[in-house]
């Protein structure tokens, strides 16, 4: 029962959430945390009460389980920020996971093993964005949009684990279908594909940019010459 979990010492609640997220290889969803906490009989476990000089954090017990868990995560993060920890819990790819924060993460990016991990070439980015918006998509369809052979690029993205083969199209030749992976979401710090910029918005920007340049005509209303001109025309 989830209600039993709520009855625990608030510090203990925070530590349990923290432990679950810490130990998960992939981002763990609020749903999974909730299911686990609901299914186990929490009082079978002996949590020694943590003696803190600080007061127990205030938690609104009336919240729905999902919102309740999200709030606990927020409190854990508050703790980290307060103590200048170099990491916090972030929401990405449909779940929660630990990640370095803005202040200290840039130092990590200097490590040789991470240096090239986040670098993508122009054609790789192009191909990736086409796949992200049109998935599942076949290689010929990608090539039709880019106007160039894209086999090598697709393979390099497969190697980087940013895309994967998601199936085959039921058409002539049964071509392979490609889609983006969780790694893709993590690289761009996205929670889901819905967080990508909207295609229609981009289309509007492009349409606006493609509009032929109209000659700008400036009319200065205070100009007395205009009035003179008018009177001349009138007469």
């Amino acid at each position: 029962m989830f209600e039993k979990f709520k009855q625990l010492n608030h510090f203990t609640q925070l530590r349990i959430i923290e432990a679950l997220i810490f130990a998960s290889e992939e981002p763990i969803s609020v749903e999974s945390i909730k299911n686990l906490l609901t299914s186990l009989n929490i009082f079978e476990y002996d949590f020694q009460t943590f003696n803190s000089t600080e007061a127990e954090p205030e938690i609104d017990l009336s919240d729905e389980p999902n919102k309740y868990i999200t709030k606990l995560i927020e409190l854990v993060n508050n703790d980290y920020d307060k103590n200048d920890r170099p990491f916090r819990i972030v929401e990405v790819a449909g779940g929660y996971t630990f990640a370095t924060n803005e202040k200290y993460g840039r130092i990590v990016s200097l490590l040789p093993i991470f240096k090239n991990k986040k670098k993508l070439t122009k054609p790789q980015l192009e191909t990736l964005s086409i796949i992200a918006y049109n998935q599942p998509i076949t290689k010929p369809e990608i090539e039709k949009i880019r106007g160039v052979n894209s086999g090598e690029i697709v393979n390099s993205l497969l190697e980087k684990n940013l895309i994967s083969i998601v199936g085959r199209r039921d058409s002539l030749g049964r071509p392979l279908l490609y889609g983006t992976t969780k790694e893709f979401l993590k690289l761009f710090g996205l929670n889901s594909l819905d967080d990508l910029p909207k295609l229609n918005e981009i289309r509007n920007i492009i349409d606006e940019r493609n509009k032929p340049n109209l000659i700008e005509i400036k009319i200065d209303f205070d100009d007395t010459k205009n009035q003179e001109l008018d009177s001349q025309i009138d007469s």
């Binding site: 993460g105 980015l125 880019r146 052979n149 710090g189 289309r203």
Partner: protein, 241 residues
Amino acid sequence: MYKIVLPNFEGPLDLLLYFIKRDEINIYDIPIARITEEFLNYIKLMQINDIEVTSEFILMASLLMQIKAQMLLPKNQNTSETQIEDPRKALVEQLIEYQIFKEISESLKNKIELHNHLFYRGIYESNIKEISDKYKSFKQLTTWDLIKTYYEVINRNKNIEIQEVKINPLKIEEEIEKIKSIVNKEGQINFNSLLAGKEKPLIVVAFIAVLELVKQKQIFAFQNEYGSEIIIFSTSFINQN
């Protein structure tokens, strides 16, 4: 072979968009003749610089020329104007589609930079192996590694079947002498009877021997028609008759 990618252009569509942007061309009203000329000039430039002109560029060049030709054709008076589709329409649509994804990839690039600090915690089992393999140096190797490698090599060769190759000591000279004596004795002989019952290597040797004898003009080979029996005569036999 070197593969040179021009820094600015990812392909023909990219190149066309460059022209359009540079000359502030209205994308919905592309001056096809001018653009086609520019495009062809660029291809020439690529060829001069020994840059491989990929099939995509050739395809685009032919498409541009096709559109140009279509636009030169007089419009049929009988069809109303709304029925005539602008021959540039499909190309323009493709260009805009490409513009959209170029724009998106630009915004994705910014997103990567924005999240440059994000390094996730995870159990990187595969990564650990990758990294350790890459950074392994000789210093870290032990005697055990040596023994292990030795056993691997030994076991690898264990299952390989060794095949003996028999060498037939065949001599063309011997075969020549043999054929010569047969032909001289019989006067004439069918080529096929020379080969009868022989194994492949022997057939080859016999054939070479016959060719050599023909070359030396010790025998003549005749054939009545294509595919029929080849008959071998001894030269002395011919001379006698």
